[in-house]
Symmetry: C2
Subunit: 308 residues, 2 copies
């Protein structure tokens, strides 16, 4: 494939930015990749693994870039944007990879200089690992990457960013920012908070059950622990910045849970059986949509061995 941007600046060097660097290099999509991270240790790691040309200031990293990617926790987006704004090249495109879109738009858009294109985005991709070493080139393959451009966004700038994302293996779609935040509250934010909560409950009980909760976790619980191992700073910011939608979905969740708890207490087996039959159908829909493997147990090997 051919070069789409001459110089791409990655602000924040975690799992997503790291994976973008690998994917862009593998497919030759950027002539030069620069980067900056606030933490000196992260910059050092990124240099060690040759992730990109790492600068010690965001201003230097974005100088002359025709694409700047904000890949920091959503709570830090506005501050970072204010810092880099005076140093942006005319005609540059700014995008972000935050999991919440309306609050990022509110924080970033006021700082965007005239002539610079701001196109908010969100790759639905990630793992429970974080940091520059966690990135890999195929992270985005066959995954959705949602764009939530503002009504007056430049169509050519959107099309160019779209080409980059598609060339990294992802599928793009466009959505209004508020709608994005509602959909993601259902598919991601509420499930993450619920997983964190269940793991927290088990953590309390671990002390009374003498580690049996860890030892016998394969019966379902361990799947929650994977989700609840995600980056704490990123997720703190997601919940604080998509507050209303997340609390709305959690409210619906608690109502449903109470109805099911009552069915258990009352011995209403028919209600439980009907409910569990409906939820089974959703799984089929997800596999048919190509959004997960149909292999039993995610295709995990029977011998789960420690990885060191």
């Amino acid at each position: 494939m051919s070069v789409i941007y001459d110089r791409v600046a990655l602000i924040g060097l975690g799992l997503i930015a790291g994976s973008m660097a690998h994917a862009m290099r593998e497919h030759g999509l950027a002539a030069e990749i620069t980067g900056y991270a606030r933490s000196a240790a992260t910059r050092e790691t990124a240099r060690d693994i040759g992730l990109c040309t790492v600068f010690d200031s965001a201003a230097e990293a974005v100088a002359g870039a025709d694409l700047v990617v904000l890949a920091v926790p959503v709570g830090a987006m506005g501050e970072v944007m204010a810092e880099i704004a005076p140093h942006l090249a005319p005609g540059a495109t700014i995008t972000d990879v935050g999991s919440v879109k309306q609050s990022v738009i509110d924080a970033v858009a006021p700082h965007v200089p005239p002539g610079v294109h701001f196109i908010p985005g969100h790759p639905l991709a990630g793992t429970e690992h974080s940091g520059p070493r966690a990135g890999f080139a195929t992270l985005f393959r066959n995954r959705w990457w949602l764009l939530t451009p503002l009504p007056d966004a430049d169509p050519d700038a959107i099309a160019r960013l779209d080409r980059l994302i598609t060339a990294m293996g992802a599928k793009t779609d466009r959505m209004e920012a508020g709608h994005h935040d509602l959909v993601l509250a259902v598919t991601s934010h509420a499930p993450h908070l619920i997983a964190y909560t269940m793991v927290g409950v088990a953590d309390h009980l671990r002390r009374v059950t003498d580690e049996e909760v860890i030892q016998y976790s394969a019966a379902g619980f361990r799947d929650f622990t994977r989700i609840a191992a995600s980056d704490p700073t990123m997720w703190r910011d997601v919940f604080l910045h998509n507050r209303e939608a997340t609390l709305d979905i959690l409210g619906r969740f608690t109502e449903e849970l109470f109805v099911l708890q009552r069915a258990i207490r009352m011995g209403d087996g028919q209600h439980l059986h009907d409910y569990f039959t409906r939820t089974r159908a959703i799984r089929r829909g997800i596999i048919e949509a190509g959004q997960d493997t149909g292999a039993p147990d995610f295709g995990r090997t029977p011998q789960a061995k420690p990885v060191t």
Copy 2:
């Protein structure tokens, strides 16, 4: 390996019994394997795939067996035991594979004839698939199989069953039945009900978001749908028969969830960050205990393709 039982009768021919048949045959652990399922269609399928010698009555299947495995939903255990009791060979061992132990003991033990050994058990193994075609020989490999023998159980009978389980690749441990039910309420029963609930909430919202919940499920939600695709009858029975422990854990869960919801509403980022840091440590414990893969995203391949 050498034959451990001359004739093993499997009552119920689902995922667990099917996997036992494959594992016992692969390792030559039973001279003969017989089976029975209440549903004629299940018996037909089991015959088609040559799972074992399938009989049209439980009485015929257990005749002459030195090991009988009750592999039916926990709510059906007592009835099945009453039906087969008159046909059991003297000295035979009865075990079960139910996910709840105290209620199975209460239902089964009164029907056990003198001279027959009853040793309740629970393999912590399974997938979201069910039925005789879902079984495979390696299901139990490196998984725990808990035994909850009564105080007066025959040590030789326990040791022999233990040898069979170990030879199928599992690790055994012994536990008091009530304690088992509490531990499993944390590691399995409450997480399953929570996953069912979250998927139910998404099912309602699917209609207002035009299938976007399915399309964008890879952001976390899809892991819940795997758990919520488990067999509805089996799980209805688990909740009804481990009612007190499950409701206790769900009560603790709701308390924790409310505290986290309040932290989101109040903007208490420090509380959220501390909580999410603690839960991350639990994941590390599970991987170090060899109970899950440390590969990112369970080692799922980036291209999740529909399986037909």
